[in-house]
């Protein structure tokens, strides 16, 4: 590109940038949906009772990692009296050591496989796949009415030997059609 064309392009980009900078910035603090999901994942650990006594709690992210950068800030914190560790996992062996397992909806094709792996193990499964609880998962994060809400499949939690606090169940969105 000849220099004058580049210059012209640059000046147009600069113009757009100035145009944009004059926009009001009154939207408050920017928080991404991913940050919100990360906060949910940490919070669930406070409201679910896990069997046994441990000093650490492992929050595992399955497959392609979408929330890792947002959870990094929580690593090493005390959650419900236990030290939080964030792990990325990809296979049944790695999953065995998790207390909470997040499966992103981009891994939807592997959902059923993962649920089979964790069956009857004390692992809290969470996903942002819409149909997660209906497929036998523990908690689904669902976008609706302009908010991020969650559904709890109590039966799935019971099967895993986990107990959700009544406070959490009160805040949960009722499951639309429980097939299980």
């Amino acid at each position: 590109m000849p220099a004058n064309n580049l210059l012209r392009l640059a000046s147009r980009i600069a113009l757009a940038a100035t145009l944009a900078l004059t926009m009001p910035a009154s939207f408050g603090e920017a928080t991404t949906e991913a940050q919100l999901k990360a906060a949910y994942l940490v919070n669930f650990l406070k409201y679910v009772e896990f069997p046994g006594t441990r000093t650490t709690v492992n929050l595992c992210l399955f497959g392609r990692d979408s929330l890792g950068p947002y959870l990094a800030a929580y690593e090493g914190r005390q959650v419900g009296g236990r030290e939080l560790r964030i792990r990325r996992v990809n296979s049944p062996e790695q999953i065995a050591d998790c207390q909470e397992l997040f499966i992103p909806d981009t891994e939807e094709a592997r959902l059923a496989a993962v649920l089979r792996w964790v069956d009857k193990q004390p692992i809290l499964t969470v996903s942002d796949a819409e149909t997660f609880t209906r497929e036998g998962g523990g908690i689904a994060l669902i976008r609706g009415d302009g908010r991020l809400q969650f559904e709890v499949n109590v039966e799935a939690l019971n099967r895993a030997g986990l107990r959700a606090s009544p406070q959490m169940l009160r805040l949960a969105k009722p499951m639309t059609s429980a097939t299980r």
Binding site: I13, M23, T106
Partner: protein, 713 residues
């Protein structure tokens, strides 16, 4: 399809939530989180942190907010993808140079169904494969991807994933109308029959009145009429099994202005134009079954049947039937994530051509392609280091067997940094047209001094390629290095460099020359029968330069691609991409190949820039702006009637450009939206492309204004 789950898109991010002042997210209780409003919802592949390839994702939101009305215009936002509009419906689209109307180094799939046409190994972009509204996301992976994606994934893969019918229930209508006689209607109905079964049916029709010719400002003939109808049925059987069925039919009608009809009744070269009508149609049926074995093996079997026709008045008529069977399996065990698959594809064509312009070796041909691949992602150090390796062995009746390989190394020193290295090789199977079609390729006028009696003659020279029936596959291999950084929760950047080596690229080779006048003898013989075949009466002072396609060219392709994504404030997002590329062909003793190399190099623009701004003025108003530009290029003049003493190829310059698209949308309620769209607003009279292979008249890319209504009910 299984590839989707491998997919790079991770829905991260960039929707915004408004928080009560003073609260930080970490301190919020579940009660607060449930009440947090999401003011805008946008999905974006942002966390590509663990993909060891140059990847980019275009979301449905990006498509809608771009104001683009056709798929190729959407692709312009991806770094490394080069798009040039030829006329209302036709586009040249490529990844990393080698662009052309018949660009052949890009694989394009819709839900796993390949759109590439084996006649020329490219895509007919004038045929809408799927309404834009039905697209969930587009994943673009630049660089060789032949191991997983098969032949033609030489410079990149464009993977279009349509929306699940579960998310398309109810009814919707979109109507768009605007300048240049543009009209676009889209309608959809869908239903969730039960918890596990849903379907949708959508239809779209597009119309655009003819553009103006670039040189004469007279009307061109590229009036476009397109229609597409798409049906999808999804059934979740349970237990990790699901079934999907797609049925799709599309049709496109347009005309083109060809400067191809030479007239030798006067001295020199006079060309008159032809305006052939072109009708394209395609119908396909695809079924996919996914299941989960007891051992944890996930499988996907997809079968598709496609029938398509190309009918160009008095020129080419082709009918093509393709059957494609594809299996993929995936098994994650220990530190390995193994993916394997096999594919068989059979295409049968029936062609008729108009000689002498075009002729074909055999009117029917069946081509069979079979391939097997296996790929493993091996975690060497958990959360730190991952090694990937894969191989595909394939065999095609066109080119015999070939092997593609890849190897990747991904290092993630922290959750916000990732560095990857990739090696990959890919073959490009030669296309039916390259092997079997003989065609007039162009004409120029050489100014020659005739010694006796001494005078200067302007001798038209016609180029003609004789099909040999044989052309081997082109080969490519290269390395790439990439780095991704999550700068903050609201900003990320991605940079990669590549260097690829191409060998056995198709080029020409001179095989002979004949004349239709005795004055050239004895240097150039007269071939009476061939002159008769071309309709050149004996005594016409015309030369015909005969060539054939050979694998005679090698080249280096280097480049840098940068993209960045920044949520500046809650309602304002900027996305930037820039790419630089350089194509350098080797020189050899083959004069024609050298000329081909020169033509290829000069046709590749160096710079591409895109900056998109998405601003949510209020929850019900959006203002979007897209600045994009590219540097210039030179295109060969296929037909040059101006006498030229050296006989060397002449070129036309396509200047670089920068232009702006705007979109203002107002949402009346959650079901009704109006938008005002302006496209190509800067640059009143410009062109983006001059056609190759067929000497067409250039059309002007003009500013257009559109008003669009989207109604859901």
């Amino acid at each position: 399809m299984m590839r989707n789950c491998l997919s790079i898109a991770l829905l991260a991010v960039f929707s915004t939530a408004s928080l009560a002042a003073g609260d930080t997210l970490e301190e919020m209780s579940l009660e607060d989180l449930v009440k947090t409003d999401i003011t805008s919802v946008a999905r974006k592949s942002q966390s590509l942190a663990d993909v060891p390839a140059a990847a980019f994702v275009i979301t449905a939101e990006d498509i809608r907010r771009s104001g683009a009305q056709a798929l190729p215009d959407v692709l312009r936002m991806a770094p490394g993808i080069q798009v040039a509009q030829i006329d209302n419906g036709r586009y040249a689209v490529t990844a990393r140079s080698f662009n052309g109307r018949f660009a052949n180094k890009l694989q394009v799939l819709v839900d796993g169904r390949s759109l590439y046409h084996p006649l020329f190994a490219g895509v007919m972009w004038e045929l809408d494969p799927i309404p834009l509204e039905d697209i969930e996301r587009i994943e673009i992976i630049r660089g060789a991807g032949a191991v997983m994606w098969g032949a033609n994934a030489v410079n990149g893969v464009i993977n279009i994933i349509t929306r699940h019918s579960r998310n398309q229930t109810g009814a919707a209508v979109s109507v768009t109308a605007g300048s240049k006689g543009t009209a676009d209607i889209y309608a959809r109905v869908g239903q969730a029959v039960s918890d596990s079964t849903s379907w949708k049916l959508s239809a779209q029709a597009r119309h655009i009145e003819p553009s103006r010719q670039y040189t004469s400002a007279a009307d061109s003939v590229d009036r476009l009429n397109n229609a597409v109808i798409d049906f999808r049925l999804d059934h979740d059987i349970g237990g990790g099994r699901d079934l999907s069925l797609w049925a799709n039919a599309s049709r496109s009608k347009t005309t083109e202005l060809w400067n191809t009809q030479p007239d030798f009744s006067q001295p020199g070269l006079n060309v008159s134009s032809l305006t052939p009508n072109q009708v394209l149609s395609s119908e396909s049926l695809v079924g996919r079954y996914r299941w989960l074995g007891d051992s944890g093996i996930e499988s996907s079997l997809q079968a598709s049947l496609n029938h398509s026709t190309i009918d160009i008045d008095h020129f080419v008529n082709e009918s093509l039937t393709t059957v494609d069977l594809d299996y993929q399996g995936r098994f994650a065990v220990d530190r390995h994530d193994i993916l394997w698959g096999m594919n068989h594809r059979s295409t049968r064509d029936e062609m008729s051509t108009n000689e002498p312009y075009v002729s074909i070796n055999s009117r029917h041909r069946t081509q069979r392609d079979t391939g097997f691949f296996v790929h493993d992602d091996w975690t060497l150090l958990p959360e730190q280091l991952k090694l990937g390796a894969g191989i595909r062995v394939a065999s095609t009746t066109a080119n015999g067997s070939n092997v593609s390989t890849n190897a990747t190394l991904l290092w993630t020193p922290s959750r916000s940094d990732s560095l990857w290295l990739k090696y990959a090789s890919a073959p490009r199977t030669s296309a039916r047209a390259e092997r079997d079609i003989s065609i007039l390729t162009g004409a120029s006028v050489v100014q020659t001094a005739i010694p006796f009696p001494p005078f200067t003659a302007n001798i038209p020279v016609i180029g003609y390629v004789n099909a040999t029936g044989k052309l081997a596959a082109e080969k490519s291999q290269g390395v790439e290095l990439g780095y991704r950084k999550q700068i903050s929760p609201n900003a990320s950047a991605d940079i990669n460099v590549y260097r690829y080596r191409y060998t056995d690229l198709r080029s020409g080779q001179q095989t002979g020359m004949f004349g239709c006048h005795r004055m050239f003898e004895p240097a150039i013989p007269v071939d009476a029968s061939k002159c008769a075949y071309f309709g050149l009466p004996l005594g016409t002072p015309v030369l015909v330069n005969e060539m054939q396609a050979i694998n005679g060219l090698a080249a280096w392709n280097d480049g840098v691609e940068i993209s960045a994504d920044w949520l500046v404030v809650a309602g304002w997002r900027l996305q930037f991409s820039y790419s630089w590329s350089r194509l350098k062909a080797d020189r050899s003793s083959n004069v024609v190949a050298n000329e081909d190399g020169n033509i290829m190099e000069r046709a590749a623009p160096r710079h591409h820039v895109s900056l998109r701004s998405q601003w949510n003025i209020t929850p019900s108003q959006q203002f979007d702006l897209w600045l994009r530009g590219t540097s210039g290029m030179d295109r060969l003049n296929l037909v040059d009637t101006v006498p030229n003493a050296s006989g060397a190829a002449t070129f036309s310059r396509i200047p670089g450009y920068a232009t702006v698209d705007l979109r203002y949308a107002y949402r009346v309620n959650k079901d009704l939206e109006f938008a005002l769209i302006g496209r190509n607003l800067v640059g009143r009279q410009r062109l983006e492309y001059l056609s190759d292979y067929i000497p067409t008249a250039a059309t002007e890319i003009a500013p257009t204004w559109l008003i669009s209504t989207h109604w859901r009910f």
